[in-house]
């Protein structure tokens, strides 16, 4: 079981990173979503895998799964929705404002002259 889960985590991570490395915004959004799945599963798995022992207290039951990673991941899932929503809005805004959906900063937008090192005094 551990092998299945860890290979799935690795696979989703790889897919997420590959998509994030694309140049178009929607692919990046998909990539972050995939990466959130992988990371949430990883966080969850740090409590070690346990089957049929949910952390709901019952009379006569003594062993439960680790509840802390679950609590962490629960909020992480909701937060990652918020993050996806903000990223989507930014992608949308960049597309509507700039006319294309590239994620890289256009050369013209970079601060001119900075890389030549003539910043500093008096600027």
């Amino acid at each position: 079981m551990e092998l299945l889960l860890s290979s799935a985590i690795g696979m989703m991570t790889a897919a997420g990173i590959y998509l994030i490395l694309r140049r178009r915004s929607f692919a990046v959004v998909l990539g972050t979503t995939m990466l959130s799945y992988a990371i949430n599963l990883f966080l969850f798995s740090t409590g070690r895998l346990v089957i049929n022992q949910p952390p709901i207290l019952q009379d006569g039951v003594t062993s439960y799964t680790d509840p802390i990673p679950q609590a962490l991941v629960l909020t992480a899932i909701v937060i990652s929705f918020g993050m996806t929503a903000v990223t989507v809005m930014m992608a949308l805004g960049a597309f509507l404002e700039g006319g294309d959906d590239r994620v890289d900063m256009p050369r013209a937008d970079r601060e001119p002259g900075v890389s030549r090192g003539d910043a500093g005094e008096g600027r």
């Binding site: 690795g10 599963l41 346990v50 207290l57 890289d104």
Partner: protein
């Protein structure tokens, strides 16, 4: 008055000018003056106790785990500096009121000034070095604001930046030094450190700590080779210069050396570093100052020189030298503040402060002449003024100092410094006030109103009084503060006449030499102008330029605007760090048995793998990719169910629904297909990076899952006490709303902020270029015939009450069964969103009476109020309680205060999700999506009625 309150009063005063900004500068000056005066009064009330040898302390535990306590103390040294800071501060506040022009933002000035004053008081009253460091940095920051107060002057901005860079860097070094010191002493409280002299001086870390601390003190007190920032800081308005460079900012370094004198001094290292630096600075400052034409610049270098003098005295490490140092701190503050204010008056009234354009002001400005001359003569060390007494004491001490076996070097150098000191003081008097009257002053000079000259006049009166009656006016303060510095009970012998001793002879030599210099001055100036001399500002600029250039080169290498490049650098760094950590960590193989693989998880795994591969392969077809996201999310929720995490499964599946709806809405306004614009090589490289990272992450999770916990987990506590303390059986929910409620509180706040950010982004998108683009939007895909079909409208309406009841049920049972505020919020959001989707925006929105922003706010508020409620019961924030209630008709049930918190979570989630989706639909409406008032496009009842 409590020392903590004395330190806090200037900060309170700093708030007032901002609040009273409309009342004018008189009121601003008045309130700041009042705050300062009250603090000074509070301080002076402690004088009898301190004279009796007591130390007044306040102890407030702040972060005791870190050793950071807000402890304050007033001893002799703190008293001396406190009187200087508050007393001269009071005079400066008065002076600035008349100095600054009507159109200048006086409120801002006073706020900065009071901030600075508070920071200085904090330094001198702190009894904890970590607290002291905070105030230390605060003086750097507030002096930056003060020096750059005239924002329109480039010199002001550059001078402020230079001061901040130099003193800030010194401050950083000092933090390290103080931490070492505290570590050796085992406590960060100054009282404890002062008792640990043997341990500190025996420690091998003594020298590094000393060097780092001295770096901080020397940069602050403008000691060579860091002296160059001080003259450039003269671009500040004169009240600032007078305050910062006579009594406060630059004296902070001296204060620190005096404060730590008992534990750091007395070693050869201390003597050679501190005394030598002081001596060099004293001579160098006097030499440069002698050639300066700008009055403020002359005074600045003279300050550097006098600071060097005091540093040297502290460096000698003897009790008598410490007494002389403390006495000279008082004297220097009085005559130098008076001189700066005099220079300001001359600048203000004559329109220039260049010696070359002045002269003959004796008759035109008699009051200023009197004040300036007395103060300058005190600076020169002429009897019977106070500067004379402390200079004599200094010269006396130098005759006892032996530098590397040479008994004559120190006093000879000090005499050279004193000669130049007399030289520039006489220059100040002679070339400004004497000589013929000129007719080309920029303004017609005349004495100012009393507001400007009263401050320097009071100080000059002190100069004379301390000179004539040193024991009455200063002796007690010198005794008390020198006692605090040395830890003994020194008795200062302050007198004008000590007999015809070596010091007096040196003093006479210095005065005669100074007179000679005054006569030779024009010729010396001419010679000096022809000789090359180093320009500190050019060097400083060169170094900062080089650092900037390097920084840009380095950052440009990683971030050149390409997100992929930055991300590759990041993931490779993480991977390499992980590999390094793993290879050095001593992993000894798997310790947990593997769980057996059953058929259903295997099927899920195969599906997940296929879906992920498809996602990578077909991600450019965006709609298909969205379907695949849904599938993957579904399998992830399934795995949560299988692996004993029902809460996670519920949350994941409902988040999945809203995510897909969100992405669908967004996709409406994005290209339907992703353009392929990366080359094969680039994609191959990306795939390689992705595979490496994926392998690394997968391997890491495998290793983690197969290993036992390295340390005992705290989960046992949570499970054990979930029912007992939290009153709930669902441990995950109890952790969320009770044990770790503070985290959850933060998280719902973040979620709310994210939703509001989306709302704000939408607002801007509706305007400008993107707004125009949206108004001219042409839909490129074929529209559905009936957007709001009858069947869907009817079904969603039937479902709504059911889903709301389910939501309420999930919410209520959350404390004991899977569920809770997060899940319930998501379920209710989905029910509401489906109304919008089925019946159309216009119809649904007209039935919504609570704005979603308000819902987010109410949620955060409800959670916060529940948390605060615990205070009234005398418990810490967010402590929950529960009880059982029996109502007639239904079974006994539990009521927990955590439910109020969970209600906040619920409201916040609903508000955030709805606001995010609503914002996206606003974009659609801007793009010309028709808004329907009727719920159905084809409504049978209407058709029938029409016929």
């Amino acid at each position: 008055m409590s020392p903590a309150l004395i330190a806090a009063l200037p900060f309170i005063g700093a708030l007032l000018p901002g609040l009273l900004i409309r009342s004018g500068r008189d009121v601003a000056a008045m309130v700041c003056g009042t705050a300062t005066f009250v603090a000074l009064l509070g301080l002076c009330l402690h004088i009898p106790a301190i004279m009796a040898g007591e130390v007044i302390t306040t102890r407030i535990d702040w972060l005791p785990q870190l050793g950071l306590n807000a402890n304050f103390r007033i001893d002799g040294l703190g008293l001396l500096f406190g009187i200087l800071i508050l007393g001269i501060g009071l005079l400066i506040i008065t002076y600035a009121r008349f100095y600054l022009a009507r159109h200048e933002p006086v409120g801002v000035f006073y706020t900065y000034l009071m901030l600075f004053q508070g920071a200085m008081m904090g330094i001198v009253l702190s009894d904890n070095i970590l607290l002291l460091l905070i105030f230390w940095e605060l003086t750097s920051l507030s002096s930056f604001l003060l020096i750059g107060y005239w924002k329109h002057l480039p010199e002001g901005r550059q001078g402020a930046r230079m001061a901040l860079t130099v003193t800030g860097m010194g401050g950083l070094a000092m933090i390290a030094g103080m931490l070492i010191l505290g570590n050796i002493a085992g406590s960060y409280d100054i009282s404890d450190i002062l008792n640990a002299r043997e341990a500190i001086q025996a420690s091998p870390l003594y020298l590094p700590a000393l060097l780092l601390i001295l770096l901080g003190a020397f940069t602050k007190s403008a000691q060579f080779p860091f002296h160059f920032w001080l003259p450039h800081a003269m671009a500040a308005p004169t009240p600032v210069s007078a305050y910062l460079h006579s009594a406060t900012m630059v004296k902070a370094g001296l204060f620190l050396m005096a404060r730590l004198w008992p534990v750091l001094s007395g070693t050869p290292e201390w003597f050679y570093i501190v005394a030598t630096t002081g001596l060099v600075t004293m001579v160098l400052g006097a030499w440069i100052g002698f050639f300066r034409d700008d009055l403020k610049s002359l005074l600045a270098f003279s300050t550097v020189s006098h600071l060097g003098l005091i540093t040297m005295l502290l460096g000698f490490g003897t009790e008598a030298a410490a007494v002389a140092a403390v006495f000279h701190i008082i004297n220097h503050a009085t005559f130098k503040a008076a001189l700066f204010m005099t220079a300001g008056i001359i600048d203000h009234e004559a329109g220039t402060r260049s010696i070359k354009r002045l002269g003959g002001l004796r008759k035109l400005m008699p009051i200023t002449f009197l004040i300036g001359t007395i103060a300058a003569l005190s600076m020169a060390g002429v009897p019977p003024l106070n500067g004379f007494i402390s200079k004599e004491m200094m010269l006396e001490e130098t005759t006892h100092a032996v530098w590397r076996g040479n008994a004559n070097l120190v006093w000879a150098m000090a005499t050279v410094g004193a000669i130049f000191s007399v030289g520039y003081s006489l220059r100040f008097v002679w070339q400004v006030f004497f000589g013929p009257e000129r007719d080309d002053y920029p303004h017609k000079p005349h004495d100012p109103g009393i507001g400007l000259w009263i401050g320097p006049a009071i100080l000059t009166a002190l100069v004379v009084l301390i000179g004539l009656f040193p024991n009455t006016f200063a002796g007690w303060l010198v005794d008390a503060s020198a006692g605090a510095v040395t830890g003994g009970h020194p008795h200062a012998h302050l007198a004008l006449w000590h007999g015809l001793n070596m010091a007096l002879k040196l003093s006479i030599v210095a005065t005669l030499g100074g007179l000679l210099l005054l006569i030779l001055n024009p010729r010396m100036l001419a010679i000096r102008d022809r000789v090359w001399r180093p320009d500190a500002k050019a060097m400083f600029d060169g170094v900062t330029q080089a650092a900037l250039y390097l920084a840009y080169r380095l950052t440009d290498r990683f971030t050149n605007g390409s997100m992929a490049r930055a991300f590759v650098a990041f993931s490779m760094t993480v991977l390499l760090c992980g590999l390094w950590a793993f290879s050095t960590g001593g992993y000894s193989g798997a310790t947990r048995p593997m769980l057996p693989i059953h058929a259903i998880p295997l099927i899920g795994w195969v599906l997940l793998m296929i879906a992920t591969c498809c996602m990578v392969a077909f991600h450019r077809n965006r709609l298909l990719a969205l379907v695949l996201v849904g599938i993957i999310g579904l399998i992830v929720s399934g795995s949560f169910v299988y692996l004993s995490a029902p809460d996670l499964a519920l949350t994941q599946i409902s988040v999945e629904v809203v995510t897909v709806i969100l992405l669908l809405l967004a996709l409406n306004f994005l290209p339907k297909r992703t353009v392929l614009d990366s080359r094969d090589g680039k994609r191959g490289f990306d795939a390689f990076i992705a595979t490496l990272t994926g392998l690394g992450f997968g391997a890491l999770s495998y290793v983690v899952m197969r290993s036992d916990f390295a340390l005992p987990s705290i989960s046992g506590y949570m499970i054990e006490n979930s029912h007992k303390l939290g009153g709930g059986d669902n441990v995950v929910n109890v952790i969320l709303v009770d044990f770790r409620g503070y985290d959850t509180f933060g998280e719902i706040t973040v979620l709310g902020i994210a939703a509001l950010a989306i709302f704000a982004l939408t607002e801007t998108l509706l305007l400008g270029a993107s707004g125009r683009r949206l108004r001219n939007w042409v839909y490129d895909s074929r529209r559905a015939g009936a957007r709001h079909p009858l069947l869907m409208v009817v079904i969603t309406r039937l479902i709504l009450p059911i889903s709301l009841v389910v939501g309420a049920y999930i919410f209520l049972r959350g404390h004991n069964m899977p569920g809770g505020g997060f899940v319930a919020g998501l379920i209710v959001s989905i029910a509401l969103v489906s109304q919008y989707m089925a019946s159309g925006f216009g119809w649904a929105q007209s039935r919504n009476r609570v704005p979603y922003h308000a819902m987010i706010g109410a949620g955060v508020l409800a959670a916060g109020v529940t948390g605060i409620g615990a205070w009234f019961a005398g418990y810490p924030f967010l402590t929950s309680t529960y009880g059982y209630v029996k109502l007639p008709g239904i079974e006994k049930f539990e009521l927990a205060s955590a439910m109020g918190f969970d209600l906040g979570v619920f409201l916040c989630v609903v508000g955030a999700v709805m606001l995010a989706l609503n914002s996206l639909s606003r974009i659609a409406r801007q793009a010309g999506e028709t808004v329907n008032a009727e719920p159905m496009d084809i409504n049978p009842s209407r058709i029938k009625g029409g016929r």
